[in-house]
Symmetry: C2
Subunit: 305 residues, 2 copies
């Protein structure tokens, strides 16, 4: 079992140009803002619209980010595709670049697949990459992928690849599932990350590793303070405050809302663009989101705080 990873990570939102090409310059700037606030980079997650990018586009972005000097030791790129050949290619590149780990969706096109089939999919990638440095964080997000990762499968993977299977991001939104993961595997050093800071304090109190949360793109400092101060007397108050901000974003399509907030407070309207099939907020939604955030006192230039 490798040394566990811990902390707060943001599934980094991906800015696009007018022609929908990924904008590596703006992406690097956003990565730096997050790193400056102690937040790690779960590049190419669901919130990053990673599956709306080709594998080549993802590899090129990774090259550019590292070429700009971003520390690979703070990078946990998402690499899980429907084809294990693609997953292996992205994973291999991430390991070669020295990334601290990868966040790996199961193949998500076929539904109702067996644990045997999912085990083989992960095993095939691990064997093909064939590198002892590989650290896989499993990605359980049934509301989107529809293909989940049960405890039996995780146990089998851990037994077969104890040096490689390093943890999980649980985006089930179901605390009882997170609790079961913590109870079953956390004591062995398996890193259980929750998929939203809403569960961060509860997770830390039960041996969790941290969170990988969409809203860490826009509220990084406060979420990191909660993580760092989870043992303090102020922890419950910090949790409540983080929840209030998250609750505002959750009223709107999440990725569009995050990009809108970044565009608004960075004064850079280019940020609002999403790749189809996702769409930007409507005029009314924009006004309502920004209005609510301002009413909450979120109008400070938080990205510079």
């Amino acid at each position: 079992m490798p040394t566990p990873a811990t902390g707060v990570f943001a599934p980094v939102v991906t800015p696009f140009r007018r022609d929908y090409r990924p904008d590596s310059g703006r992406l690097v700037a956003h990565c730096r803002r997050l790193l400056d606030r102690q937040v790690g980079l779960a590049l190419f997650g669901t919130t990053s619209e990673a599956n709306s990018l080709s594998v080549d586009e993802r590899l090129e972005l990774l090259d550019r980010i590292l070429g700009a000097g971003i520390d690979p030791g703070r990078l946990m790129p998402g690499t899980g595709c429907t084809a294990f050949t693609d997953t292996a290619r992205l994973t291999h590149a991430s390991v070669r670049h020295g990334c601290m780990g990868v966040l790996m969706l199961p193949p998500f096109y076929y539904k109702g697949v067996s644990d045997e089939g999912l085990f083989r999919a992960y095993a095939e990638v691990i064997e093909r990459v064939g590198d002892a440095r590989l650290r896989i964080f499993l990605y359980h997000i049934p509301p989107v992928a529809q293909v989940g990762l049960g405890l039996g499968l995780i146990e089998r993977l851990l037994k077969a690849y104890p040096g490689t299977i390093a943890g999980i991001k649980d985006s089930s939104g179901d605390w009882s599932n997170t609790k079961a993961l913590l109870d079953a595997f956390a004591a062995e050093g398996f890193a259980v990350f929750v998929g939203s800071e809403t569960f961060l304090l509860a997770a830390m109190r039960h041996g969790g590793a941290g969170c990988i949360s969409a809203s860490a793109n826009v509220n990084p400092a406060a979420i990191h303070r909660l993580y760092a101060g989870w043992r303090s007397d102020a922890a419950d108050g910090m949790q409540e405050e983080a929840d209030r901000v998250r609750a505002i974003f959750q009223k709107y399509p999440m990725i569009a809302g995050l990009k809108q907030a970044i565009a608004h407070w960075s004064g850079d309207p280019e940020w609002v663009r999403l790749r189809p099939p996702l769409t930007e907020l409507s005029q009314d939604q924009r006004r309502a989101l920004i209005g609510e955030l301002e009413a909450h006192g979120f109008a400070t230039p938080w990205l510079r705080e």
Copy 2:
């Protein structure tokens, strides 16, 4: 509106070598068997495990198939990926090769997306390919993709791209949806294919174009006879007989069962392999499937009939 396509198509199963590389030799041989029985080639469909192949693997297979002399006028490759850049690349290659059309899944990673977002995804591909020869058959398969294509979206696409949007494969398994599509669009020449021969006769009697069905891989001649003879007195009997064969396959995981049957009656065990996350049938399932097919009188070397 282009001249409608009609007939029976098989989403061609993809054979794999021991190392999971696609086996183009066996694939070409299977394509020929299907074409000899008047069945067209919906290469790279769900049954083809297309989303378990990288885009490069699909492009290479397409090159090899055409290089082997398969008629592109009988090819309707699946090209829909989660990233529109991938979809555009596969679609562009298919058009350049002279394929009669492409079968296009919507982007299927994000769930609950808007019609506006899906419209933009299709529009972006059409604009990027920018070729008047492009014929798109929409692919509606909510049980697997989870992202479906409603009548309002289809109407909007038809209005915006009347020369390009050529039809649909309806794999909803819901006759009321197929009927609504036929009633709304078939009179204009929009080709409505059902996703199973179970609905073939009903579809033909309401202006349908044919079917694109997994079981056409193993029962091509009988399904084509039903299609060609739908106006004859024998049609109901042919439908019932095709249904009986389909019903046997439906008791087992479909793709694994098709490959098992091909392996058994072609005497070529290499055919049983599937890419993860799909798995081959168990020993018991193999015996049961082949036993049922033999009991049904399916033990004749049907691939040579």
